[in-house]
């Protein structure tokens, strides 16, 4: 047939195939048709240019060999000969065939090899050996081809399988690293990107190599269809159809799904099988298939065993010592000890906690077992209060993000928290957001866990802030839910997220205060970002308004960290050092405002607030008594205590005296035991002592001294008093010698001791002397002491801020110095972060602010005391 008619025929048939594709949309059918068309061209040209008996075979390789010829893919041809001389004789025929194919508009990649060449592994050209795995006879000496296909190739693979698999694993990892090891790109490359067609081919190649290495003839049909995995077949069809469309659209071998292509493919319903979709939904479908391919290929790559150094083996063996009765760890992968455990939701949740704690990955076998049990797990996975302890544990472990990703890929996370269905693979189509919304959520959680590794960077202050949180699990839960509203209709995702968060915390049955915290964080998660963007952070009004919205220092810490994580997880460049520093400045200014405004406003018996009404709702019959109790307490008091705690304090105050809660006048000799009400409970790894009593000189100092005498190290404290002179002091402390923990009867003895000392029935000094003798070893001072007086921040008190090294007895030392100068502590806010003690006191002297002389005296006393490693006043 003359060349020009051949070219014309090729063009007409290509156009027909394109029309068929546009009509039907089947990528695999189109690939098959194109393959047959190019086969026709090659066979026609072979018959024209090559005489029979040349001792040469024409072989299709690569995608062409697989019969998967995309519209603008290269045509990989092998001219196989017996010997070098054969290839010399065929040169002009080879050139003629290739030239004609080029003239038809095809890009040909020809190679000529002898049979012996094909039977050797070229370390510098692994791709050629891999392409041989897909070889397909086209024309010429079939016997020669069979010797390649049935002997040379299987022998090569059997001999070099270990090295081949290792190299295949290596080049796959290198390729994936070019794409950041994530499938979640806004404009993904569906051929070379993770989860793309190349990963499909990798699974095929691994299967063929393993089969050939074990002497089996690979079932080429099933291998090319990736086994009997229906999800993989569907993914292959989707990706093939999408790539066909991209080739026709771009008119070249361009496999990037850019934004315009996403819109076009969504409108046309390319590869959906169900008609048009929105671009976001079309991309969701893409990511779903990419996840399947990525998971499948990653599992196979993970199974590739190879030679490892003895050091690596030793390390892996060390890591496997974390194996327990339920899970074993081998080569960094986790297996069920008992296969049936995969069907138990509680065991699977413990498995996820294990992953979150240690950072291992699930073994392919464990994944398969969980997938096989998905129906049962879907029915038995808890969603209520039984879920929260497990979820809390997972969220607070260092590798929480990886565990959540594993949970999500196994469809367990949306089962446990249906609220997350809205953001499953959800794409935000803008240049700012790099990731899907679910991936962004996991990244945000990971940002906070990795803060500890930010030593020396501009984020180090935030790492310290993270370690100060009282309930980090609430912050992590809020992060998990904060963007769920983006999957709902409506422009305001914050409102939607807040509604979903309310539903979630209700179902998990968090305590009222914990639920309120999580919902507050979700509802306010853009507050700080908005302030940074729209307000002058050096304007006192800005700080005042922000503090009013956040209400407590703890919420300020949580929301600051949430803002940091949210920004940093948008894209790798989003959190610039400039933004990080501004965020930190806003935090420090607002934190300082909280410390310097603790007595800015007082509760009034005649005025109720929303916070007070929550307490009244618990004790409706005691409304007026409750308002009397709260009268004169700083507003900070109700903001920093949960309604349950305020109610409890009120009841304690009510038992101060048998006569309707009216305290005895201070100084009245022989105060009865009912003059002091105590509450002691364990909180996390510390103890919390609550004292409700009448105010008197030196009360705070006496309490601090008593705790020190018992060997307790105070970490936090807050002291408030109301207009009637009733004091509510709460001390959190570490039981240094585990006295209370190891000896339960000591708890009552401790409380009795505190009560007796406060009412004057026992002396504190002998206890302090004993403690001093026991603590004779001076500590090394590494934290510089800073004292700061502020006369402006409070209308009635002088503020003293003490920052110094924490040490046993510190609070007693400081409060003793204040008592010595006849000062009254109106409000005390005590905090300890690591080695640093940060104490804020609102002080008066004879009911007024401190004079300059008094401030100087206090400064002198404290500077002297705190410069010593041990108190010198004793």
């Amino acid at each position: 047939m003359p060349e020009s008619p051949l070219r014309d025929r090729y063009r007409q048939e290509s156009q027909r195939i394109q029309r068929d594709f546009e009509a039907v949309g089947s990528g695999l059918a189109s690939l098959s048709s194109r393959t047959r068309l190019v086969d026709f061209l090659c066979l026609t040209l072979w018959e024209q240019l090559f005489s029979s008996g040349t001792g040469c075979a024409l072989v299709a390789l690569g995608g062409y060999g697989r019969s998967e010829l995309f519209p603008f893919s290269d045509i990989d041809l092998l001219f196989l000969t017996e010997a070098e001389a054969g290839s010399d004789r065929m040169k002009s025929a080879v050139a003629g065939l290739c030239q004609t194919l080029w003239d038809c508009g095809l890009r040909v990649s020809p190679t000529t090899r002898t049979l012996a060449d094909c039977g050797r592994l070229d370390q510098t050209n692994l791709e050629f050996t891999l392409s041989l795995l897909d070889c397909r006879f086209l024309a010429g000496d079939i016997a020669l081809f069979e010797r390649l296909h049935a002997k040379a190739l299987p022998h090569l693979i059997a001999r070099e399988s270990d090295g081949l698999l290792q190299q295949l694993s290596g080049i796959t990892q290198t390729r994936r690293q070019r794409f950041g090891n994530t499938i979640f790109h806004l404009e993904p490359n569906l051929k070379d990107g993770p989860g793309g067609l190349r990963d499909c081919q990798v699974t095929q190649w691994i299967g063929m190599v393993v089969a050939l290495a074990s002497g089996r003839k690979p079932d080429l049909v099933s291998v090319r269809q990736n086994g009997s995995h229906p999800e993989m077949l569907a993914a292959l069809e989707f990706l093939s159809s999408s790539r066909c469309y991209l080739h026709y659209r771009h008119g070249r071998d361009d496999n990037t799904i850019d934004w315009d292509a996403q819109e076009a493919m969504a409108i046309r319903g390319i590869a959906t099988g169900s008609g048009p979709l929105s671009p976001a939904d079309w991309m969701r479908l893409y990511f779903r298939h990419a996840k399947t391919v990525h998971r499948n290929s990653s599992q196979l790559l993970g199974q590739i065993s190879g030679k490892r150094s003895s050091l690596y083996r030793s390390f892996q063996h060390w890591r496997s010592r974390v194996s327990n009765s339920e899970f074993s760890v081998v080569d960094g992968r986790v297996y069920f000890q008992q296969a049936a455990d995969a069907r138990e939701a509680s065991v699977v949740l413990r498995l996820l906690t294990f992953l979150a704690r240690h950072g291992f990955a699930l073994s392919p076998e464990a994944e398969r077992r969980i997938q096989d049990a998905h129906l049962r797990l879907a029915e038995t996975m808890p969603q209520d209060q039984y879920l929260w302890p497990h979820l809390r544990e997972i969220l607070t472990q260092p590798h929480a993000a990886d565990a959540l990703r594993a949970m999500h890929s196994l469809n367990l996370l949306t089962r446990a928290l249906p609220e997350l269905e809205t953001i499953d693979l959800l794409v935000l189509r803008d240049l700012y957001h790099r990731y899907t919304v679910d991936e962004h959520t996991f990244l945000a959680i990971d940002v906070l866990h990795r803060l500890k590794a930010e030593e020396g960077s501009s984020l180090r202050p935030f790492a310290e802030l993270m370690s100060e949180l009282e309930q980090p699990e609430l912050l992590f839960l809020a992060l998990l839910l904060h963007d769920t509203g983006k999957g709902l209709e409506g422009a305001d995702h914050v409102h939607g997220s807040a509604q979903l968060a309310t539903a979630a915390v209700g179902r998990l049955q968090l305590s009222e205060s914990d639920a309120a915290t999580v919902c507050f964080l979700v509802a306010s998660h853009l507050e700080i970002s908005s302030t940074l963007r729209r307000r002058d952070i050096y304007d006192p009004a800005t700080i005042r308004e922000l503090a009013a919205k956040l209400a407590t220092p703890e919420r300020l810490k949580m929301l600051t960290l949430m803002t940091l994580a949210d920004i940093k997880a948008v894209n790798p460049e989003a959190l610039t050092p400039w933004k990080a520093e501004n965020l930190w400045r806003l935090y420090t200014r607002t934190a300082g405002y909280f410390d310097h405004s603790a007595d800015a406003g007082y509760l009034d018996a005649d005025v109720s607030t929303a916070a007070i009404e929550k307490v009244i709702a618990m004790l409706p019959a005691h409304r007026s008594e409750l308002l009397q109790f709260l009268d004169g307490l700083p507003q900070r008091y109700v903001l920093s205590h949960a309604p349950e705690e305020v109610a409890e304090h009120f009841l304690m105050a009510g038992h101060l005296d048998t006569e309707a809660g009216v305290p005895r006048p201070p100084g009245f000799g022989g105060l009865g035991c009912e003059a002091v009400q105590l509450g002691l409970r364990a909180v996390s790894d510390q103890q919390e002592l609550t004292i409700v009593t009448t105010d008197r000189a030196g009360l705070f100092c006496t309490l601090a001294g008593t705790l020190y005498a018992w060997g307790m190290n105070i970490t936090k404290a807050a002291a408030f008093s109301n207009r009637a002179g009733v004091v509510v002091d709460v001390f959190c402390f570490k039981d240094r010698f585990r006295t209370l923990e190891l000896n339960p009867p000591e708890r009552e003895r401790f409380k009795r001791s505190v009560r007796e000392i406060l009412v004057g029935e026992a002396q504190l000094e002998p206890l302090l002397e004993s403690r001093l003798k026991a603590d004779h070893k001076p500590i090394k001072l590494t934290v510089e002491t800073h004292l700061h007086f502020d006369e402006e921040c409070s209308p009635r008190s002088t503020l003293l801020e003490v920052v110094t090294q924490d040490r046993p007895g510190l609070l007693h030392t400081v409060s003793s110095a204040l008592t010595s100068e006849n000062c009254s502590i109106e409000v005390a806010l005590i905090d300890t972060e690591g080695p640093v003690a940060h104490d804020v006191f609102y002080i008066t002297c004879e009911g007024k602010k401190l004079s300059a002389a008094t401030m100087r005296a206090i400064e002198w006393a404290l500077t002297t005391e705190l410069a010593e490693a041990l108190p010198s006043t004793w």
Partner: protein, 112 residues
């Protein structure tokens, strides 16, 4: 052609950007910067420690405009960024000899 460079308060950036777009300015380069004017920053306290904040966060916007647009741009920036307080920022103008569009070699005002 004139290059207009302005340093403003970060909180005013959205308003200034919108004002410039409204008068037809579409190309601009934005940089996050720190700086101070005559006031030289201030001291603050955090956890009892005093520290000096001498470089305050600012935003710098640069654009090259046809000469006939410069006055309107100055007016738009001033109206949007002014609060009347110290720290509002400044605008600088420099003459530009040539502008070239890399994509198609357009020159002069056609490249803007």
């Amino acid at each position: 052609m004139t290059k207009l460079e302005t340093v403003i308060q970060p909180a005013k950036f959205d308003a200034v950007k919108d004002a410039l777009i409204e008068i037809g300015v579409e190309g601009m380069t934005v940089t996050e910067v720190r700086g101070h004017g005559r006031q030289k920053g201030h001291t603050e306290f955090y956890r009892g420690r005093e520290y000096t904040v001498d470089l305050l966060p600012k935003v710098k916007i640069e654009m090259v405009l046809p000469d006939q647009t410069v006055d309107r741009a100055i007016q738009a920036i001033t109206n949007a960024a002014r609060t009347g307080k110290i720290g509002d920022g400044k605008i600088f103008l420099t003459r530009i000899d040539e502008a070239i569009r890399i994509r198609n070699d357009d020159r002069g005002e056609n490249a803007l």
